[in-house]
């Protein structure tokens, strides 16, 4: 995925972000960080972002190598090219961090997020929700006479658009996992 230009004056900033949002182009990058799965490591990474005023758009973490106790953290962050460069250097020098990959610049990657949507409604709205879910390849994982829970996997943009469509049809709640991402090819 190529660098995405977020529109100027975007409000998606952390509370600690004192930078002028109109000053420079803000890019969104997806970082994969391989860390020792030890106590406090997630707090260490998150503390770096809050302490230095960087943004976190989404973050997922789980152990991916049980034998070596390694976890993979996928972070979607935004900032000027200089800030993104700093974030990577700051992550890279942390003692429990093994690898830092910028999937946004290291070549094509696949990015997926899982989301659950609870949609309540009757009659036409209920039928329309089900029809749209089919178009988006969302699965029904729970159903009552007045509600559905849809499960969907896709890019964050796809999940955003489905959520927009569901809103007038009785969308009650959304749970999202945040992005998991891998580089394409070997």
């Amino acid at each position: 995925m190529s660098a995405l230009n977020i529109k100027r004056g975007s409000t998606s900033h952390s509370a600690y972000d004192l930078r002028d949002p109109n000053a420079e182009i803000i890019e969104s990058h997806t970082l994969a960080v391989v860390v020792d799965n030890e106590s406090g490591v997630l707090a260490r990474v998150i503390g770096l972002f809050s302490g230095r005023g960087y943004n976190i758009e989404s973050l997922t973490v789980a152990e991916t190598d049980h034998a070596r106790h390694l976890s993979r953290i996928t972070i979607v962050t935004t900032g000027t090219p200089e800030v993104i460069e700093q974030i990577k250097a700051q992550l890279g020098r942390m003692v429990p961090v093994h690898e830092v990959h910028d999937l946004t610049v290291e070549g094509p990657s696949v990015q997926r997020e899982l989301a659950l949507f609870k949609v309540a409604g009757k009659g036409e709205a209920r039928i329309e929700a089900l029809r749209l879910a089919e178009i988006f390849r969302a699965h029904v994982v729970d159903s009552t006479l007045e509600s559905f829970v849809f499960e969907m996997t896709g890019t964050p943009e796809k999940i955003d658009s489905f959520a927009e469509l569901m809103r007038p049809l009785g969308l009650k709640e959304i749970a999202r996992t945040g992005v998991a991402a891998l580089a394409r090819g070997v």
């Binding site: 020792d36 106590s39 406090g40 707090a43 260490r44 503390g47 302490g51 200089e82 460069e85 700093q86 250097a89 700051q90 890279g92 020098r93 003692v95 429990p96 093994h98």
Partner: protein, 584 residues
């Protein structure tokens, strides 16, 4: 063969194996088993401090003056929270220290137990790395790993939190060689292509300058030697940050003095006007750069740093070289010699001529007085009377610190201990004790202001108890001098809470501690008093009453570039705009 032992004994054994000969600490409930082990051995000396902040600054002073790792031992809860300022100070100035803290037993963690605090949580942002050890089998390995992390790559403070039950339990000891270190091996060798690019640039540069920092000191004595050889062989001018003083000798022919906010005129103008800047182990701190946009606008910049995150953090550079200063300088010197030791002689001659003109401004000039002691004069006399002695200087933070950096000359590394990045008032007295413990025969002087000094003055008790003959050279202006200076320049001379009222009588205070007190207010008496201080075999509190409203010049006001320095009182009217006033 591994040996089974208690966690408390492991701590002492691991410290011995790491070559630790002194620990600065304060006992408490959660570290009693470790103190019991310390009691039963004689290899490691324990210095009982009066406040845990003092212990950490002492460990810093010890580390900075020896090049070894400093160690502090504190109890849980308040013991650990009192260590936070020292840890942050060490993090900002890249000082290798290991702090061991006690913790409530593992089964009580999270219950708000007596003297419980989330120590690893609190210290996570102010350590390079920290660990809570919940299993005695992992304790000794973790301590060895901690020493490795503290002194590898960019040095820094680490903390190990040890619950009391872990200290009592028994497990096998992990020797140093078997501890986990392979996961943290920062790169020390610089990229040869980048180093060659730097050499090519310095062969043709017309107006080059070396700008060096604390990284040279941290790299070790050999790095300072290489730097001297390189500077003297090329004939390039050299300036240094506050943290790097002594890496190149103050008496060296290429020395321009310190740069930065209160740096020398010639150093700052040379930085502004150079065409090649070689940053060796410095980090473009805001005290150095002034207004970023106008920082050294016409130069190509090389940056040698062991920490990749320092590169392009503040100033974008043309040639980044990630590696240890010593290794990089060694390679650079070898390549430069092999290519025929070329420099642009003609350009350099012109450049030095220009620098000589700036030097002629005599920027450290001040109005002398026969009635009151000018702080600059006090430091000039201190310098003259102690030069050539086996001397170590620590400082507190403020005007006196800047004057000390301007007026004292350092001929070698590890002789100058000051709180640069964090600017911690109260650093100097405990640091001086840490230095003195490491160098019992040396002359250790803490150049202080009275306000800073009061912040950790309880440590005079430590100095007395352990016979550390530290000299507390207090430039007493009865003011928070630097705060007062900023209020004069920025806040319409409204001196809000920046004077020290109800000061103690420092001579009586010295007597109360059982040491010597000296008080001087007449310039005529100064030399004799300084000599009396030096000759006295024990700690001295020297109350030097100085001019109350002296300002520290030169000064680059916040938000201004290097070429807009203030040289004296006449330059100060309305120079700092609203934008500059926001900055610190």
């Amino acid at each position: 063969m591994t040996k089974a032992m208690t966690g408390a004994r492991m701590v002492v054994q691991a410290l011995k194996d790491q070559g630790v000969d002194v620990v600065f600490g304060y006992p408490g409930g959660a570290v009693l088993p470790i103190y019991d082990e310390i009691f039963q051995q004689n290899d490691i000396r324990h210095i009982l401090v009066r406040h845990e902040q003092g212990a950490v600054h002492m460990a810093e002073g010890y580390a900075r003056s020896t090049g070894k790792v400093g160690v502090a031992l504190v109890t849980s809860g308040p013991g650990a929270t009192n260590a936070v300022t020292g840890l942050t100070d060490a993090l900002m100035d890249s000082i290798p220290i290991v702090v061991l803290s006690g913790q409530v037993p593992t089964f009580m963690i999270g219950t708000d137990g007596f003297q419980e605090a989330d120590t690893v949580g609190i210290t996570r942002p102010c350590t390079k790395m920290n660990w809570l050890v919940k299993d005695t089998a992992k304790l000794s390995g973790t301590i060895h790993e901690a020493f490795h992390v503290a002194r590898s790559g960019r040095h820094g403070p680490v903390l190990i939190d040890i619950p009391k039950d872990v200290q009592f339990a028994t497990a096998d000891y992990t020797p140093m060689q078997r501890a986990r270190t392979e996961h943290y091996q920062p790169r020390v060798k610089g990229d040869i292509e980048a180093i060659t690019a730097m050499v090519e640039m310095l062969e043709t540069a017309e107006r080059p300058i070396f700008y060096t920092g604390g990284g040279v000191i941290n790299s070790g004595v050999a790095a300072s030697q290489l730097l001297r050889e390189f500077v003297d062989a090329t004939g390039f001018p050299i300036t240094s940050t506050l943290m790097g003083l002594g890496a190149y000798p103050a008496s060296g022919k290429s020395w321009l003095g310190m740069l930065g906010m209160h740096g020398l005129y010639e150093a700052n103008l040379a930085m502004h006007g150079c065409d090649l800047m070689i940053n060796v182990g410095a980090r473009f701190d805001d005290r150095i750069t002034g207004r970023i946009k106008d920082f050294s606008p016409h130069s190509r910049k090389v940056h040698i740093d062991i920490d990749p995150s320092s590169i392009n953090k503040v100033i974008r550079v043309d040639v980044p070289i990630i590696g240890d200063v010593g290794h990089v300088l060694e390679d650079a010197l070898r390549i430069w010699k092999a290519r025929g030791r070329k420099v642009n002689k003609e350009g350099l001659a012109k450049w030095w001529k220009q620098i000589a003109e700036w030097k002629a401004v005599n920027c450290l000039d001040y109005k002398p007085s026969t009635k009151t002691i000018k702080p600059q004069y006090a430091l000039q006399r201190l310098e003259a009377l102690t030069k050539g002695m086996d001397r170590y200087i620590t400082t507190e933070v403020g005007q006196h610190q800047m004057w000390a950096a301007q007026f004292l000359g350092f001929e070698g590394p590890n002789r100058w201990m000051t709180s640069g990045g964090l600017g911690t008032m109260g650093y100097g007295l405990p640091a001086s004790i840490g230095v003195q413990v490491a160098h019992p025969e040396a002359l250790v002087i803490n150049v202080a202001g009275e306000a800073s000094w009061l912040m950790n003055m309880q440590e005079m008790g430590t100095a007395m108890q352990f016979r550390a003959p530290v000299k507390q050279f207090i430039l007493n202006n009865e003011r928070l001098g630097m705060v007062r200076q900023w209020q004069e320049l920025l806040h319409g001379e409204r001196y809000s809470h920046s004077w020290s009222e109800s000061l103690p009588d420092f001579v009586k205070l010295a007597e109360a501690f059982g040491c010597k007190g000296l008080k001087v207010s007449d310039p005529k008496d100064l030399d004799d008093a300084i000599m009396e201080m030096i000759r006295y075999d024990g700690p001295v509190i020297f109350d030097c009453l100085v001019e109350k409203h002296e300002n520290c010049f030169p000064m680059i006001p916040s938000g201004k570039p290097h070429n807009e320095m203030l040289l004296g009182e006449a330059d100060t009217q309305g120079v700092i705009g609203a934008k500059g006033a926001v900055l610190v």
